[in-house]
């Protein structure tokens, strides 16, 4: 299960302040903490306050790469910023993200191929998030077809069936789980799946419990990766436990510790 650490995001106060003031330390501290907690990728997002998205995203990529060898997940709606940041990556990264809209796919899939990057494909359009699992899977299929046409290896395509908060969109949860199952049957080799876990519990008072319960349910449905708070220890423990129950990692009494010492 690939863990994408979500904390280097300008919407969090400390990072937002650091981004505006061009202070690398909070970003670098967060990078090191997330790496120690077991992250495989680090998501970087300029947040809402950065004036120059291009300059900021590039700067964020550079300062984070000073302290870690982990690959970066570039989280931005400004495609020029994405392209500029891809240029400074020291190892293949991940583009976050591309909706099922032709002009987005035409811009971003060739970039992913050119920079040997993975890319997150969202099962939605500019009109919004579909309701049923079938509609989500249909968008997934379109993303798969485009990826194939552009020569992107399907193991580098991470499809996100879009998780919505359980307190306001409760009927979506089971549709997302079923969509994950269907997405894994779309091709051979199958595309990968990803979700932004924190979305499922937004504005509820039980965030960690809801997040980790959904994580293990989604893993049973075929979830390959998640954007999450790797500092949430019970969450990472639950994921390690799900790996063992799904017979994906061999059990040993210290399995929780070993899960965090993943191979590079």
């Amino acid at each position: 299960m690939i863990l994408i650490g979500e904390r280097i995001n300008g919407m969090f106060k400390a990072i937002g302040k650091a981004v505006v003031e061009w202070d690398p330390k909070p970003l670098q501290d967060s990078a090191k903490q997330q790496e120690a907690a077991g992250a495989h990728y680090l998501d970087i997002n300029t947040g809402p306050h950065a004036e120059d998205q291009v300059k900021t995203l590039v700067w964020m990529a550079e300062v984070v790469q000073e302290v870690t060898d982990l690959p970066l997940c570039l989280d931005c709606t400004n495609f020029d910023a994405l392209e500029a940041a891809l240029k400074v990556l020291k190892r293949p990264g991940m583009i976050n993200s591309c909706k099922c809209e032709q002009e987005e796919m035409d811009r971003l899939f060739p970039l992913a191929v050119e920079y040997n990057a993975a890319i997150i494909g969202l099962c939605m359009t500019n009109k919004g998030v579909p309701k049923s699992a079938e509609d989500r899977a249909a968008f997934a299929m379109e993303l798969v077809a485009n990826a194939d046409a552009y020569g992107l290896p399907l193991e580098d395509l991470y499809l996100d069936p879009i998780v919505l908060p359980v307190n306001v969109a409760q009927e979506h949860g089971i549709e997302v789980l079923e969509a994950i199952r269907q997405i894994k049957t779309l091709s051979n080799p199958a595309p990968r799946t990803v979700v932004g876990l924190s979305n499922v519990s937004q504005k509820t008072p039980h965030r960690p419990l809801i997040n980790r319960t959904f994580a293990t349910m989604a893993m049973a449905a075929g979830l390959d990766s998640a954007i999450l708070d790797v500092g949430d220890e019970p969450m990472v423990d639950a994921i390690a436990t799900a790996r063992v129950i799904l017979n994906q990692d061999i059990y040993c009494d210290s399995y929780q510790k070993v899960f965090r010492q993943h191979s590079s």
């Binding site: 990692d249 061999i250 040993c252 009494d253 510790k257 070993v258 191979s263």
Partner: protein, 324 residues
């Protein structure tokens, strides 16, 4: 359209372990043995690297093994009472590239050799041969915890492989290996989960992962070998997927397991359909070895020279690369 043959892409690798040290490494060996480094399932050269061939260690005991089958004692009849001479014969006459010395004479219920006597025996064997040495205790925890640290100290610089470390008794031998720079055999009773846990315990003590060789507690042919095979398979698959706690080379006491079997020992007149007992025993040992090789073992501890010759030939053939 050209046929595309799908190859697995493995992300893991079996650790490379070296046993023995020459003068430039602080020892007195004339040769060293290197095992491991596999980046594919056993012998699938077309999917990765098999940089080091499996090696056969010939077994020497620190006491006359009167309980061994006659057929196995015959080739060594003149040297059974002298471990150094026995080891020398294994190397000079039968081409052994590494010696496995079991200090069975230290067993309190047998000769009860003192730790000092054991050290003397180890030193004598080291002086008699130039190949690397594996040294294993008698199996009595209390005795072994006394003698193994002394052996480790006396042989410091020789980069031995010493054993055994088990889940309930590992600290003493691991500490001795750390201080005197040897490698350790980690033994578990045919249980992959305990095997993984023991590797974690050992590496948490501070011994480098590439100084551990795992003994999975192999069962002999007809006596659980297929269960051992399934453990070896799961272990190698885990290693290939990046599980670092299952990425150690593997050792198996083939001779001990095979020659325990009724099928290797029963006289022909008791079981005429089983044929000549001598040949049968040799084949039982050779087939145990070759079956375990398919599961992926790196060091085979064997007894009968003719079985050793058969398995050596099998290893040569398996190491011919079919890469494409």
């Amino acid at each position: 359209m050209a046929l595309q043959i799908i190859k697995e892409r493995n992300s893991g690798k079996i650790n490379i372990v070296t046993i023995g040290a020459k003068a430039d490494g602080g020892g007195t060996r004339t040769s060293v043995v290197t095992v491991g480094g596999d980046t594919c399932l056993p012998f699938l050269h077309f999917e990765g690297q098999v940089p080091n061939k499996p090696v056969i260690a010939m077994e020497v005991q620190s006491r006359i093994p009167e309980q061994w089958a006659e057929e196995v004692k015959k080739p060594f009849a003149d040297v059974l009472s002298d471990p150094a001479a026995w080891a020398k014969k294994c190397v000079e006459q039968y081409g052994a590239e590494i010696i496995y010395l079991k200090l069975s004479g230290a067993d309190p219920d047998l000769e009860n050799h003192s730790p000092e006597e054991c050290v003397a025996i180890v030193k004598a064997v080291l002086a008699a041969v130039g190949v690397p040495l594996i040294v294993v205790g008698c199996g009595d925890d209390e005795k072994d915890n006394q003698l193994l640290p002394l052996v480790a100290e006396a042989a410091a610089g020789e980069n031995l492989l010493i054993g055994v470390a088990e889940q309930d008794n590992y600290k003493s031998v691991v500490a001795a290996a750390m201080v005197h720079k040897h490698n350790v055999i980690a033994l578990t009773p045919c249980d992959i989960n305990i095997c993984k846990q023991l590797n974690i315990l050992i590496t948490e003590m501070g011994l480098a992962a590439d100084r551990v060789v795992v003994d999975p507690g192999a069962g002999g042919l007809g006596y659980g070998i297929e269960y051992t095979y399934s453990i070896l398979e799961r272990s190698r698959l885990g290693a290939m997927q990046g599980d670092r706690m299952l990425s150690t080379p593997i050792i198996a006491t083939v001779g001990y397991e095979a020659w325990r079997a009724k099928e290797a020992n029963a006289p022909e007149f008791d079981f005429p359909a089983w044929g000549n007992q001598g040949e049968r025993g040799i084949l039982w040992e050779a087939m145990t070895a070759t079956a375990l090789l398919q599961g992926g073992i790196h060091i085979l501890v064997m007894r009968h020279p003719e079985a050793v010759a058969l398995v050596r030939k099998n290893i040569e053939e398996l190491m011919v690369t079919q890469a494409f």
